[in-house]
Every structure is written in structure tokens, then in C-alpha cells.
Symmetry: C2
């Protein structure tokens, strides 16, 4: 099987150069998987970048569009330009069956709005959510939403919980993933009316491993397999975690380089530091899918580099291989039928 | 000058044992400062703890109350019991001038509600906020609100910005502290209606160093001296940061102890690791004041130990020495008079 990926060639802070070299990095790492890339953007610019990587060029097509979705494009304007913009065309390739998945590091709001319109939503789900997989003390935790929805109703949070559970089952291979609702305290009385109402509903679900409220530090502690929150708090929490990883590494480097003993110790223990770097690298967790759509649409971090973008591509490949959409759809259908009854 | 501190003897997950040994640790560290402690709680229990520390006992009084504010007490019930509860009596000691500051590791909601009623608010401020001081790449950043207010209006956020600026001037000794509003992106169009409206207002203020929106990772990056957010997102962000510090330390320990080279390197570089531990210890930043009150009320983390509680006491002492309330009051009065005109 050849896996065909539709790429938004113009998205991300570093643009086509990053996207093309990211695709090249993913190609070099794709041991035994046959890949094809469709680049959607300004043809001349993309072709020039592709010239640097002959092997990648040989398996790639460039589809030109004069309408480019940028970070300044408002979601409503993106939806109006529809399938004519570079991003709309990339998403449409998935809808038409010409590509297995679409990947973009561009404008999140426009990407989500277009994906909703073109790919459509799963039955019972009203808004897509972006999950992230974060490292914890004892494994990994799925956190959602990471920024797709800044204003959430209790119903939205319940949908995120159902999708997050299905996602954790599929991706972390856990039978009955535990689910927590992010709040300012774990006591039942804490928080605002939205989380109170969502928790009330989730407590009533049978065959659903709801553990009540969790707090910000429970994310990295791995208290539950899934942590549900609105896109405002979720985005802030994820970025605060990323920023803290950078800060502690910086402190570690400063502490070790400020004395001879530190420098010698570092030189001897270098492999251990490399391992730490790898385990705590937020770029390795880059590549978030829009959960709730009838097709695979992966969002890469806007500020990512080629390594991060390659990882987003790998996430998409793995989802195609796992028959991701079908599995999520079945589980969500089961949970929503329960929720409705 | 003798500094008299009113302590909620019963607050915090670890209760009187932690509070009393925290006070003892603060006393041992109080070089040249004359201290007196008033413990408010169950007299017999507190006296028993005090017996362990004769020097502390000699400078302490225990004031008994039959009504104890616990984590289960709702704020409204706390306000009803008023000056009769142990926490209400402790706060009242500040209002009456019998103590210079009150410190509690107990129920945040009850503590804030009682403080508001007993100590009263500064002119122009409607709700108190809890700021935290976090380490960054280039110094320290003040973040508020950390959980006192889970639902915020644009007006609340504007008040937090003014108080945060005054607090940073006072505590970080910065002339024109830069202020950022926490959001899911730094572009002007991002975020919900509340942050949009607050930003619009803050942009209009003259003689106020407002830098627009900042993101979660800008907190530890130290992009602005003050980061303003609602208590829901702020509490989650702070705890996520704390949790990440613990996780990275855990990863570091695991990586270093999993090989001989790692162990040797650690042994040699040990002083550097001690320094790292000290710089990134969230307990050193424990002790948040309720900003906006006409008296000094310091909130210690509920899950703290004696070291953390001693730090909260030190924060209170330093605020008394700096004539904190008078300075904040003057700056907030100046800023609010501008905001009103």
C-alpha cells in the first residue's frame, strides 16, 4: 500500500522550506512504508525547495493555488474560499480519496473550519477537538482540547471526554482509559458552572471510567489516561508545560557549565542527558489530529521546525495504518448512543 | 520593631503539626527580626505541638476557637461564622492592629471571602487576586490570578493587571513593569470575548506598559514582568508548571541512575544539581498574598510542608517590612484614577 499525504506547503512560521525538508526527513525515516506527497501551495516556491531533495521530488506532486491561507486569514474567510484555497484543496484531497491524510502547520482556526465543512463531523459530535499526548511519570496522557475551542459548553466538554477516551483506547492501547476533567481543585464543589455540569453528566455514564476532577499537576503526574478541558485552559496548560521543560533544561545547562565539577560530571554522564533530552522533547509529541472529523487531518505546531513537522507526518502515517477513523467512529458511536439514552 | 503574625493553626493538608514546625523554621531563619506568633485554632492540639519547640512557645500565644474553618467549609458559611471562627479571628487580629499579617494554608475560598469582609478592599478594586512569583529565563515573573476567581469579567482582568503592575513594582523593584494578558495566541484577534475586551481597555491606558497578549510558554520565558489571567486558567497553568518541574527532575534522576556513567557523572556534578534543585523548587515561591485587601493576608499552598509554610511566613514578614499595603494602595489609586478618567 502506498500512503498518500496532502501537505499544506505554505503553513507554519517557517513556511515551505520547513514543510519540504520536514517531508524529506519523514521520507528518510519511513522504513518499509511507501509514501507519496501532494504539496498544496505556490508551485514555483515549492518546486524550488523540492530541487534540494531529488528522492523526495520523485515521489511528490505540487498542486498550485493562487489563494493561500495565511495566519491572518479569518476562519469565515477561509470557509468562503472553500476548496479553492491551497489548504481547502489539501483537505479536499482527503475527502475525495486522493490522499489518506492532510497535514498543516498553518492557521489553526481556518484549518479546523475548513476541515469541518469539507470532511464533515462524526455522528453525535458537534465540534472537533485537538488532543495532545504528553509524557508522564508512568507513561503517557492524552490532553484535549488544546486550542481548537476557546469557548466551551458542558456538552462540548462531554464530547471531548468521549472522543478522548476513544483516542486513548486506540493510540495508547488501553482497554478502559480513565478520564479526568481539569479543574482548580479535585473536590466536587470546585470550579465554574461549565465543569460542574459536564462532571455531573459524565458521572452518570455507565461503562465509562470517569474519575472526576483533576488539577494542573495531575497532567504530568499521569493521574488519569485522559484529561479533558476547554481549548483556552488546555492551550495555556500545554504551552506552560513546554515552556517549563525549556526552562529547567536551561537551568540545568547553566548549573552544569558554571563550575569545573559540573562540566566534568556532564561530560561523563552525557548519554544520560541525551536520554533526558529525548524523553522530554516536546517536538516528539508534535502532530495533533483534529478529533471528531470523518477524515485524518493533522495539525503541526505553527512554530515547529523540520524535525517537528516530520513527526506530525509520522503521526498521520501511523493513523492511516491503524485505520484510525473507523475505530474512533465505532467507539464514539457506542458512547454517544449511551449518552443519549 | 516586633512583627506579630496571626497564623491559622488548623489550615493545610498536614494541619497543626506542619503549621507549628513551619513557624519554628521561620523563627530559626529570622536573623535579627523580632517575631511574635498568634496561633488560632484548637488550643490543646496546638499547645501539644508547641511543646516540641520551647523557643517558639516562649514567643507564641494560642487563641482558642470552637469553630474551625476546614476545606469543606463553604465560603458563605465561613462568612456567616465571621469573626467567631479560628480563621476569622486570625484575620480580625490584623484588622484590629493586633497582628501585622495573617497566614493560612487552609481553604482558599473561605479565606478570601472572610478577608474581603473583615479587612475590606482597596478603593477601585472589587475582587482580590492571588499572584505568584515564578522563575524565568531572565529573572522572575508575577502571574495572577492563581485561583481566587474562577469566573472573570473583563473588568476583573483589568483590575488584576493594575494590581499586578503595582505588585511587580514593589516586589521586583522594577520601575515600569511590562504587563501581558494570557491568551491562546499573541495575535490581536485571538481568544475569547473576555480577554479581547480587557485588552482593548488596557491598550488605552497611558503610562502603563501593556504588551498585549502572551502565551503559556511566555510565562517561563519571562516575556513580560506581569502575566494576567483568570483564576481558572491561572491555577491550571501554575500547577502544570509545578508538575512539569517534578516530572523533569524525575526523568533526570531516572536517566542518571540507569547507568554507571550517569551515576559517576552525578556524583561529580552534585553541587550543580543541588543548585538546580534550589532554583526550580516551587516551594521557594510559596506564599501568595491576597492582592487588593487593606491588610496583609498570605495564602500558603494547601499541600505544603513546614519548609513551604516557613517561606509563606517569610513572605509576610518581608511585606510588613516593606510597608506593602501603603505602597500598593498608592500605586493602585494612581492607576485606577487614570482608568476612570
Amino acid at each position: 500500500m502506498i500512503i498518500t499525504l496532502a501537505l499544506d506547503a505554505m503553513g507554519g512560521d517557517a513556511g515551505p522550506e520547513m514543510v519540504v525538508s520536514g517531508a524529506n526527513a519523514a521520507l528518510q525515516d519511513a522504513h518499509g512504508v511507501s509514501l507519496r506527497f501532494l504539496f498544496f501551495g505556490q508551485e514555483s516556491v515549492v518546486q524550488e525547495e523540492l530541487r534540494k531533495f531529488p528522492k523526495l521530488k520523485a515521489i511528490s506532486s505540487v498542486i498550485h493555488s493562487d489563494i493561500i491561507i495565511t495566519n491572518q486569514t479569518k476562519p469565515a474567510a477561509a470557509v468562503r474560499s472553500g476548496r479553492k484555497s491551497n489548504l481547502g484543496m489539501a483537505i479536499d484531497a482527503v475527502e475525495k480519496g486522493e490522499a489518506h491524510a492532510v497535514i498543516s502547520a498553518g492557521n489553526t482556526g481556518a484549518y479546523m473550519a475548513l476541515s469541518k465543512v469539507i470532511l464533515k463531523m462524526l455522528s453525535g459530535i458537534n465540534r472537533p477537538a485537538i488532543p495532545a499526548i504528553l509524557p508522564t511519570f508512568n507513561g503517557k496522557t492524552v490532553v484535549l482540547d488544546l486550542g481548537a475551542n476557546v469557548d466551551c459548553t458542558p456538552e462540548n466538554l462531554v464530547e471531548f471526554a468521549l472522543m478522548g477516551e476513544a483516542f486513548a483506547r486506540q493510540l495508547l492501547k488501553i482497554d478502559r482509559p480513565s478520564v479526568g476533567l481539569l479543574n482548580v481543585g479535585s473536590e466536587e464543589l470546585k470550579g465554574n458552572a461549565t465543569v460542574q455540569a459536564a462532571a455531573h453528566f459524565l458521572r452518570e455514564l455507565s461503562d465509562f471510567n470517569f474519575q472526576g476532577f483533576v488539577e494542573g499537576d495531575d497532567i504530568t503526574a499521569g493521574k488519569t489516561d485522559v484529561v479533558v478541558t476547554d481549548g483556552f485552559s488546555g492551550n495555556i496548560a500545554l504551552k506552560a508545560i513546554e515552556g517549563t521543560v525549556h526552562l529547567i533544561r536551561h537551568f540545568l545547562k547553566e548549573s552544569l557549565s558554571s563550575s569545573l565539577r559540573g562540566k566534568i560530571g556532564y561530560a561523563i554522564a552525557k548519554p544520560a542527558f541525551k536520554e533526558l533530552q529525548k524523553r522530554s522533547d516536546p517536538r516528539l509529541y508534535n502532530g495533533a489530529v483534529f478529533l471528531g472529523l470523518k477524515g485524518i487531518a493533522v495539525k503541526s505546531h505553527g512554530g515547529t521546525d523540520a524535525v517537528g513537522f516530520a513527526n506530525a507526518i509520522k503521526v498521520a502515517i501511523s493513523m492511516v495504518q491503524q485505520n484510525f477513523i473507523k475505530n474512533i467512529e465505532e467507539r464514539v458511536a457506542l458512547l454517544t448512543s449511551q449518552a443519549d439514552s
